[in-house]
């Protein structure tokens, strides 16, 4: 490890006993525990850390926090690569590897910095004015060039190997920010017994107190902060969340926060998430997020070595890392002057103090005197010079004389913007406070108060007091009795500031938005071209839209626009910050719901049996259903499915139909409810019988179909399609609870509580007789088609339905789900002598198409009962949901396509669902479109493909030939319109004796 040339031997909040190795652009460096990547780079004398977006200007760190626009790196390698990571927010760890980004071939020598020379061509919005001719070159040349040169870091393009967690938390008082104000607020609320959560984005609590050399109660302020944190840590009702940024305020007092759990490790520990998303519901919150210092816009203000004064103090005081040897302080605020003493104490020579104000408080002058720093009042910087590192600065004095000063560090202070982004999250605009020349929160969010610098209080005594106030008040509001903790003693600090937004007549490029390379000239061009509304300025120049979200640029940009247009800042307007306050990893929002865990996987109770028996499974919504059961030697799925179909039609087969929706409906008014949701009558259904029913949406279109059985006067069991199980349930609940609360009826979904198998085929009855013996009489007389029964067998209740989807003699057997596995095994054993064959959804589908039953493909939400051939089923004796709207002209239009069957004229041709029907010889145009194929299958019984579909006047055109036009799959098949019932149209097989 190389020595750290800019690290002082003593001081700072770093642990010199823990050395850490890291690399930047492949070069090895050393740092200490307690460093950030940025502070370690500063300690190592690395000044050039990044390249800007457009002009690829060399850049160093501007800040030491999450507002950093310049110091972005690709952190880590391989699948863990994190582009655009602010080095100022990365806690240093051993083995850290970071690469600079948006440069080629190297950070020091970046070819694209040539853009800098073409910058007159590349001003704000230049791309709106060119690249238009010839048109085809946009996609071919211009855009690929722009895309390649745009963007910053690179995604790994590999799956994120780490995991993320979510926490739901509840508290009385959420304190956002653990600086002086936040610590006092947490202390006041915490001592009262209120449940407090204190979050800070930093890995160490203390905020600015960690970076300043002030004393509180006679102890160094960082030590004071540590003592408060120790007390808070001892309070059981206080939760401390360091490395946790509250990024958003949502409705109902919900706060989103992101916790970096293992970002300070090379890789997360076993079972450890990378980050944790907190959803905190807080009765009260105290925003104590501090303030963000503002830069001054002047020529070359982006030269590496130009830093915000607060950041300079952070590097010097907190990290004992000197960002330079000879410094200039350029400040329009009293606060900036405090940098002078700190620089001097760190052994940094001060070449000049430049303050545009003609007069400053005498106490400030004393600071400069003690540091032997030449002071220029009424002065400003005209230009910063230097390529990869600051070399000199030119000062224009009050006398208008220009002087060159040699310096490798410039500390800039221009007052601060309260960090109030979160207060905007309900859409409230902040207001301009002339006294502090900054925007402050106006309308506060319900339950939120603002304290400290975030409230525009910049003097430490005020910060501590407002923090304590806010914490005590918040605790009291939530029912705790709080006593204000005594506000500790501090020295008075002058906080006056007269911001200088932009140095007039400065030389060279003067940057407003560093990352997006928006200069003062761009703002002027926007004004000239009419983009004067603040949102226009932002969108036209991209000001404030970079990864720092304008934290160091937005207010400055609008202040310059105000100057240019002769309007005041409040009249010029302000943008509203939106969540997230800091960028948040997409993986953290997704949490554990990735890969196979995207949605739950629902398995039926017969799943294991199906697996053992060679089933291939298919997704049916969240369910997995056996699609078919292949046998050794079968060439493809079609061979398997044909076998299964024929086995059912000629013997007996069993299919798991547990996924179909099942709803238990009980109560004296059950029949009335069903009459109102189904188009046909159910109150007249005899006990022990089932009936097919169809229900409509309120708008009159078909919604779902199924059979509903009546088990007693007051009890029905409804079945729905698998796809619409939940929808039908909510439809019933809506009808029952909202439309007709007076009905005495209850409904409950029992889809998952019951396992159900279809037993179909000529031998179905024999199979069941084998199994149930004398438990039930299955003779056709005792148990006819559409009969249902409930009986006890094997220690459980069995429901038996004589229903048929396949058109064969068929039953459905239902048992409580935990008997499902036993049932399928018993059914298979009982059917062994008949060669019983398990069949999957594919064979099920083939047989329903052979029988012309509608299913999900036909019940697509765009068809009416009439379209599907159920027009006559719509009862005229009663009202039902959808009846009125189903009578609208558009729904009864005779030109609507109607449900029929289709078969290929050439029986060797395959049919495909999704084909459209065109009259023979008609051109392929929308005007000639007569309908479309909804379902197709290969019928092993008929030996050719068959289809169902909707075509205009279908039933009147049986025997007519049309084209099934499928250009998207190069298909164009001549088909004959036919009855949708392909097998056993008389229904004789149903009645098999």
């Amino acid at each position: 490890m190389s020595p750290q040339p800019n690290r002082r031997a003593t001081g700072g909040l770093i642990d010199r006993s823990v050395s850490l190795n890291f690399s930047f652009d492949g070069k090895q460096y050393g740092g200490f525990a307690g460093d950030t990547l940025a502070s370690a780079l500063v300690a190592n004398g690395v000044t050039l850390v990044g390249r800007s977006f457009k002009y690829h200007r060399p850049r160093g760190f501007l800040t030491a926090g999450s507002e950093e626009p310049n110091g972005l790196v690709e952190l880590r390698t391989g699948a863990r690569r994190e582009p655009n990571t602010k080095a100022t927010t990365v806690e240093l760890y051993n083995g850290l590897a970071a690469m600079s980004q948006n440069r080629w071939p190297s950070l020091a020598f970046d070819i694209q910095s040539i853009n800098n020379w073409f910058s007159p061509l590349l001003g704000a919005g230049f791309y709106y004015k060119t690249f238009m001719w010839p048109g085809f070159l946009w996609e071919k040349l211009y855009e690929p060039l722009i895309r390649r040169s745009a963007g910053l870091g690179r995604l790994s393009m590999e799956s994120d190997p780490d995991s993320y967690e979510k926490v739901h938390a509840f508290c009385d008082v959420l304190v956002i920010g653990g600086g002086a104000a936040g610590l006092m607020a947490a202390l006041a609320a915490g001592r009262s017994g209120a449940r407090v959560i204190l979050c800070d984005e930093d890995f160490r609590f203390g905020g600015r107190l960690l970076s300043e050399r002030t004393e509180i109660d006679g102890t160094p302020c960082a030590e004071w902060a540590a003592n408060v944190v120790a007390e808070l840590d001892g309070l059981p009702n206080v939760t401390l969340l360091p490395s946790t940024t509250v990024f958003g305020v949502y409705d109902g007092g919900t706060y989103g926060a992101i916790e970096k759990v293992s970002d300070h490790l090379e890789t997360p520990g076993p079972g450890q998430p990378r980050q944790r998303l907190w959803k905190i519901v807080a009765k009260r919150s105290v925003l104590a997020a501090g303030a963000i210092e503002r830069p001054i816009v002047f020529g070359g203000n982006d030269t590496p070595g130009v830093m915000l004064a607060s950041a300079v103090r952070t590097y010097v005081n907190r990290y004992a890392a000197n960002p330079g040897k000879r410094a200039v302080v350029f400040t329009s605020s009293d606060d900036g002057w405090r940098t002078i003493a700190d620089l001097a104490a760190a052994g940094i020579e001060i070449a000049a103090v430049v303050d545009p104000r003609l007069q400053v408080a005498p106490s400030l002058g004393d600071i400069a005197k003690r540091a032997h720093a030449p002071v220029f009042l009424g002065a400003r910087l005209r230009e910063a010079n230097g390529g990869h590192a600051l070399a000199s600065l030119s000062i224009i004095g009050a006398d208008n004389r220009e002087r060159q000063v040699r310096a490798d560090l410039l500390a800039v202070a221009n007052g601060s913007n309260p960090n109030i982004g979160l207060t905007n999250h309900y859409g409230h605009r902040p207001v301009w406070n002339e006294e502090i020349s900054a925007f402050v929160a106006d309308v506060l969010l319900p339950g939120m108060s603002v304290a400290g610098a975030a409230a525009g209080r910049f003097a430490l005594a005020d910060i501590l007091r407002t923090g304590a106030d806010a914490g005590a008040k918040a605790a009291e509001d939530t029912g705790f009795s709080a006593t204000m903790p005594p506000v500790p003693a501090t020295t008075a600090d002058p906080v006056s500031a007269t911001p200088l937004w932009h140095v007039d007549k400065s030389r060279g490029k003067a940057f407003v938005d560093f990352q997006n390379d928006v200069t003062a000239k761009d703002v002027a061009l926007a004004a000239q071209e009419g983009f004067r509304a603040i949102e226009h300025l932002k969108r036209y120049t991209t000001l404030g839209m970079a990864t720092d979200q304008g934290k160091t640029s937005s207010v400055t940009g609008l202040a310059i626009m105000a100057e240019l247009t002769g309007r005041s800042i409040p009249v010029t307007g302000v943008t509203i910050a939106r969540p997230p306050h800091v960028p948040v990893a997409i993986g953290a929002f997704a949490g554990i719901h990735t890969g196979p865990h995207f949605k739950p996987t629902r398995l039926t109770s017969g799943h294991r049996w199906a697996e053992e028996n060679g089933a291939s499974f298919v997704e049916a919504g969240q369910w997995l259903r056996p699609q078919w059961f292949s046998r050794p030697g079968e060439m493809d799925w079609l061979e398997t499915v044909n076998r299964e179909v024929l086995a059912v039609r000629n013997g007996v087969g069993i299919c798991d139909v547990s996924t179909l929706g099942k709803i238990d409906i009980q109560g004296p008014d059950a029949g009335i409810l069903l009459d109102r949701v189904y188009i046909n009558m159910f109150s007249t259904l005899a006990v022990g019988r089932a009936r097919y029913g169809m229900m409509l949406r309120e708008d009159g279109f078909a919604m779902d179909d199924g059979t509903t059985a009546r088990f007693s006067e007051t009890r029905y069991v409804m079945s729905t399609t698998t796809a619409n199980a939940a929808k039908a349930m909510s439809h019933l609940e809506f009808a029952r609870q909202v439309l007709w609360p007076e009905l005495d009826v209850q409904t409950v979904s029992i889809t998952e509580q019951w396992a159900q198998y279809a037993v179909a085929g000529p031998n179905a009855r024999k199979l069941l007789q084998n199994l149930f013996g004398l438990a039930i009489d299955l003779s056709p007389e005792a148990f006819p088609y559409m009969g249902v029964a409930e009986f006890e067998f094997g220690g459980t209740t069995v429901r038996l339905f004589r229903l048929s989807f396949s058109g064969e003699l068929a039953y459905e057997v239902a048992v409580p789900a935990h008997y499902g596995d036993a049932l399928i095994r018993r059914l298979m054993a009982a059917g062994a002598e008949f060669g019983v064959t398990p069949y999957g959804t594919e064979a099920l589908s083939v047989m329903r198409i052979e029988k012309g039953h509608v299913a999900g493909n036909e019940l697509n939400g765009q068809t009416t009962a009439g379209d599907l051939g159920f027009g006559r089923m719509m009862s005229k004796k009663k009202d039902f949901i959808g009846r009125t709207l189903a009578a609208r002209p558009g729904l009864v239009d005779p030109e609507r396509p109607v449900f029929v069957g289709f078969k290929p004229v050439d029986p060797s041709r395959r049919l495909r669902a999704g084909a459209h029907f065109l009259g023979l010889g008609k051109a392929a145009t929308t005007a000639n479109d007569e309908g479309y194929m909804t379902s197709v299958a290969y019928s092993p019984n008929l030996g050719h493909w068959i289809g169902l579909g909707l075509i205009k006047h279908g039933p009147e055109r049986l025997g007519e030939r049309v084209r099934a036009y499928d250009p998207i799959r190069n298909g164009d098949v001549e088909v004959e319109i036919c009855s949708p019932v392909f097998v056993d149209p008389e229904g004789a097989r149903l009645q098999h004796v």
Binding site: D160, L277, E529, F589, P596, Q862
Partner: protein, 415 residues
């Protein structure tokens, strides 16, 4: 000044002193032949009224800054991959207008036809996309049905092997893509302004003056403006503005969130939609991943959304593109969507003489901008609907001639 590489170079050499305001920031006159409310689709309508139909005495009013509504708050996707005959010709007209928009406007709106790919994950979804693709082809719209390996060749980074719902293929419209949304508003404003249209900003309509069933003009924050015809195109606020005229619309207003990531080097070629969850994504020329999903689901005029939908969208993103985990969501926004009862828009006259309505774009209005403007202009100028927009009648909910692409019925939050 005509925009071109040449004029840019000339200005670069002369210190950019010669650029003029992109559009005239007009003060409202006392009266116009046509007053259009809304600086989004309304700008397009004003441009076509001026260019195609020769009207000049037109004003477009915006309550704030032009482009501040949904035209500047969307995921910038353009496509004409619709299913139903009421929609396809209209959106295809829009696509054709997009394709020549830059020539038309002399403004680079960055129409980028990098393709729109809709993934499917089941046989039923495949057949539904085949039905759609075939319907598109019948109308002369490009559509391709890709199988899994073709999708993999286009987007190898998708989750083919470890997904909950494996990707089976996709429906591709190559001519689909993205357009720089703000530039559309500015480009139309500039072109319309050059043709004499008054673009009036910060002019909020506070009422309609209606006499004897005929509209006389609009009351605004800048005074009364008399108008021969008044055209309303205020997506997100249609129900509120039309209530000023005493009309209740078959519209519910919902919040839709959308998101953009930090800038990244090119990673995603075109627009990709996930078929097993609601998630769509593209990458802007600037490098941000632009993505979104479902609406929040409840009625609201607040332009903000909530965490559950953000989480849902990101879950969809991670399910189909697990490489997104370490990309950061930079900005989100919540826009107001006028969700109609069948998910399709309305371009029609109203029962009030002289008052015209363009509304109900749900969250698909951006792609429609040129055709919406064109057809609205046609209706305003000729009194008859443009043939491609004939189905967008206000009375179709009464007559049942619905245009329900998704088949979910009159439940606006499901469209």
């Amino acid at each position: 000044m005509q925009f071109s590489a040449l004029s840019l170079a000339y200005n670069a050499l002369t210190g950019h002193r010669h650029w003029k305001p992109t559009w005239r920031d007009a003060a409202p006159k006392d009266a116009y032949d046509i007053v259009i409310i809304g600086g989004g689709h309304g700008l397009a309508a004003s441009y076509y009224l001026a260019k195609e139909f020769g009207f000049r005495n037109i004003a477009v009013l915006d309550k704030g800054w032009i482009g501040g509504g949904n035209i500047g708050r969307n995921t910038t996707i353009v496509r004409s991959n619709y299913l139903l005959p009421g929609n396809i010709p209209f959106y295809e007209l829009s696509m054709k207008l997009w394709e020549k928009l830059e020539d038309d406007l002399n403004y680079n709106t960055m129409v980028s036809q990098r393709g729109v790919l809709n993934l499917f994950h089941s046989d039923a979804q495949r057949d539904a996309y085949a039905r759609r693709g075939n319907a598109m082809r019948l109308e002369g719209v490009d559509a391709q049905l890709l199988h899994r390996e073709e999708v993999r060749a286009m987007a190898p980074f998708l989750n083919f092997d470890n997904g909950r719902f494996p990707i089976q293929g996709g429906l591709l419209q190559k001519r689909g893509g993205t357009v720089r949304h703000d530039a559309v508003a500015w480009g139309y404003a500039r072109a319309a302004s050059d043709l004499g249209v008054d673009v009036v900003q910060n002019c909020e309509v506070t009422g309609f003056r209606i006499d004897n069933g005929k509209v006389e003009g609009v009351e605004t924050s800048r005074g009364f403006i008399r108008a021969g015809k008044v055209a309303v195109a205020v997506a997100g606020n249609s129900s509120r503005v039309m209530s000023l005229a005493g009309m209740r619309l078959p519209i519910e207003t919902h919040v839709l969130q959308a998101f953009v990531s930090e800038g990244l080097k090119p990673a995603i070629p075109g627009v990709i939609t996930f078929g097993a969850g609601h998630f769509y994504i593209s990458q802007s020329d600037k490098g941000g991943l632009v993505f979104g999903g479902d609406i929040d689901g409840y009625n609201s005029y607040a332009q903000r959304g909530n965490l559950p939908v953000i989480e849902d969208v990101c879950e969809g993103g991670m399910a189909v593109m697990p490489m997104l985990g370490r990309a950061r969501l930079l900005r989100g926004w919540g826009g107001l969507m006028d969700m109609s009862m069948d998910g399709s828009p309305i371009i029609d006259r109203t029962p009030i003489d002289g008052l015209y309505l363009n509304a109900g774009w749900c969250y698909g209005g951006f792609k429609a901008t040129p055709a919406s403007g064109f057809c609205f202009a046609h209706l305003l100028a000729t009194g008859t609907p443009h043939p491609t927009a004939e189905a967008y009648r206000l009375d179709r909910f009464e007559t049942g001639h619905l245009i329900d692409e998704k088949g979910v019925g009159a439940q606006p939050n499901l469209h």
